[in-house]
Symmetry: C2
Subunit: 346 residues, 2 copies
């Protein structure tokens, strides 16, 4: 079955079942994400990945770390419409949150990476983000730091283990630890009916009835799970805008970026985007691939209109937003890692 | 005695004592900073300050929080030469670390604020940073968030307690919790002579002999402590460059920014700057008010030449850098705060 065939059948199945049964389409966030067989985690690898994640020396002018844009203290993104990379260069799309990204089948908003490993490797080598010329430049820089060189050789075995691939492996496995369990919604799903307020329960029902759950379902409220309902590396896409001609297209520049077609060249992928998670959505403004919408209530109105051709009543928007607030999970406490020092230049 | 009179005598005293006695000029970082009598901390006030510190809604386009530039996961600064504020505007100076800022007598690199409260208030109202028009705009925005309005009234008493002054009070008291104790150097000062390696001990001696300790002394390695050797609100300044005509002036644009004279209008304050802390210096690159120097060894060479008219031998630079590495303290583990949600617009 093709990916779009799969999607169509999942969506069809969801749309055909009555709202109450659709509750089964949601699951609490697992404590463990799926791991690729060729990059199983170790404590030492995760610790190394954490150092690299927070290390600005991965960028040409030493100004930008992964955390600069995927700020773990602020929703796992940076609150800007588009991010600011090395040398002050501006990106093209709004940074998505990194929290719970381990539950995506495809990475980047156009889904062009089939794994976190691939995503990290292409991202750190993107000259518009980190400003580095090529992999050799990155590897040389990291290998020049004694503390890193020793760790890489230990974690990955052998000598000269500082490769951009291993850098990506370590960071990806650190990123798989970035999970926010135990949101009010998760507690509700586990049977604590008082974990959601009356308004939030109403909002959840409205969320389903309106049709939001056709795409925003399962553990990450982002569609089927890789390694479970989807093969690892397969993504879950949706057309956005799905209904054309709304006032929002111009207002929020929804047609400026053609989305997935830019990667695949397949005309049917024009305006196709990966369905994003709704977890922690309250703290990941601004919204959409271009960061064009600043507030959550407006994002709900835009989604309902463009995706489902519905104008949602003001009271229902309030209820849905209240429900979305229940998706804020428990963020772990993090201490910045100790970074191995630079070699001193003679 | 005038401030500069005080400074001159402190510096003179330090320069006149033999290197070994100068050890007494260093003290472990206290666990508690000095608090202003009119803003004593409470648990609730600190919790509110933490929320505000991480809340991007303090900026006009909701893109920038205090943590955006003073990134607590990355040295308390942002690694850029100059920071990027709301609406993508670039600042004029490099962001200093916020860790241990509570031990400064004067805030900003030109020392124009006599307290963290004043610093925060002027900073959040700086249109080039947060993009807001005035205090009313900020207060209106925060007061529109139910969760904040209730907390302000509870923490500060009475109604309509959401003022820019109270916002600054809460944030300042949160910032006073940002202390990094127990560096290797602190453990050494407390009597554990093995806390520093042989090279670091050599570097410490060289640091003193070279003259660095003339300015970088006491608890924060940033000069006399407010509330102790200095009145609260008094700063400790130094001319930079002190010796003129070095090759570094042009190379690192050291004369482009006139420093404190811009605030006071006093010609004697041209190129005067607050002496910055050396704590956690390894992770707060790039260096100096203009972020012009990327690496610590180069910063040591520039300082020695411009401040003390000395060319430091390569081996000594290595030793001093090794000593500076011992100034990295223990960063606490932090979880992002839960932020009160926006009101939903009808």
């Amino acid at each position: 079955m093709t990916v779009s065939g799969r999607i169509a059948s999942v969506v069809f199945a969801l749309l055909c079942i009555p709202p109450v049964a659709a509750f089964d389409a949601f699951q609490p966030l697992p404590k463990q994400p799926p791991y690729p067989a060729d990059n199983l985690p170790t404590k030492a690898k995760i610790a190394l990945g954490k150092q690299l994640f927070f290390d600005r020396r991965l960028s040409d002018d030493r100004s930008v770390s992964c955390n600069s844009c995927h700020d773990l203290m602020s929703g796992g993104d940076d609150g800007r419409q588009v991010s600011v990379g090395a040398h002050g260069r501006h990106g093209q799309r709004s940074t998505p949150t990194l929290w719970n990204a381990a539950f995506y089948g495809a990475l980047y908003q156009d889904g062009r990476s089939p794994s976190l490993e691939d995503q990290v490797q292409t991202h750190v080598l993107d000259a518009d983000i980190m400003g580095l010329k090529d992999a050799a430049m990155l590897e040389q820089r990291i290998a020049a730091i004694d503390g890193y060189r020793q760790q890489f050789d230990r974690v990955f075995g052998g000598v000269n283990a500082v490769t951009s691939q291993n850098i990506a492996r370590a960071i990806a496995d650190f990123e798989r630890t970035l999970i926010t369990p135990d949101s009010a919604f998760d507690r509700y799903l586990r049977g604590n009916k008082r974990a959601l307020t009356d308004q939030q329960q109403r909002g959840f029902a409205t969320f389903i009835e309106t049709g939001c759950a056709a795409c925003h379902f399962w553990v990450n409220l982002a569609g089927p799970q890789p390694g479970l309902q989807l093969a690892m590396g397969e993504g879950f896409w949706e057309l956005f805008p799905n209904y054309r001609g709304s006032r929002y297209e111009q207002q929020y520049h929804l047609l400026d970026d053609p989305g997935r077609v830019r990667v695949t060249g397949v005309e049917g992928h024009r305006y196709m985007w990966r369905v994003p998670t709704l977890r922690n959505i309250v703290v990941t403004a601004p919204y959409f691939h271009n960061g064009s919408v600043a507030t959550l209530d407006e994002a709900v109105r835009v989604m309902a209109k463009t995706q489902l051709n519905k104008e949602v009543a003001a009271a229902d928007v309030k209820d849905i937003v209240a429900f979305l607030q229940s998706l804020g999970g428990r963020f772990p406490r993090i201490a910045p890692p100790e970074l191995p020092p630079d070699a001193v230049v003679e």
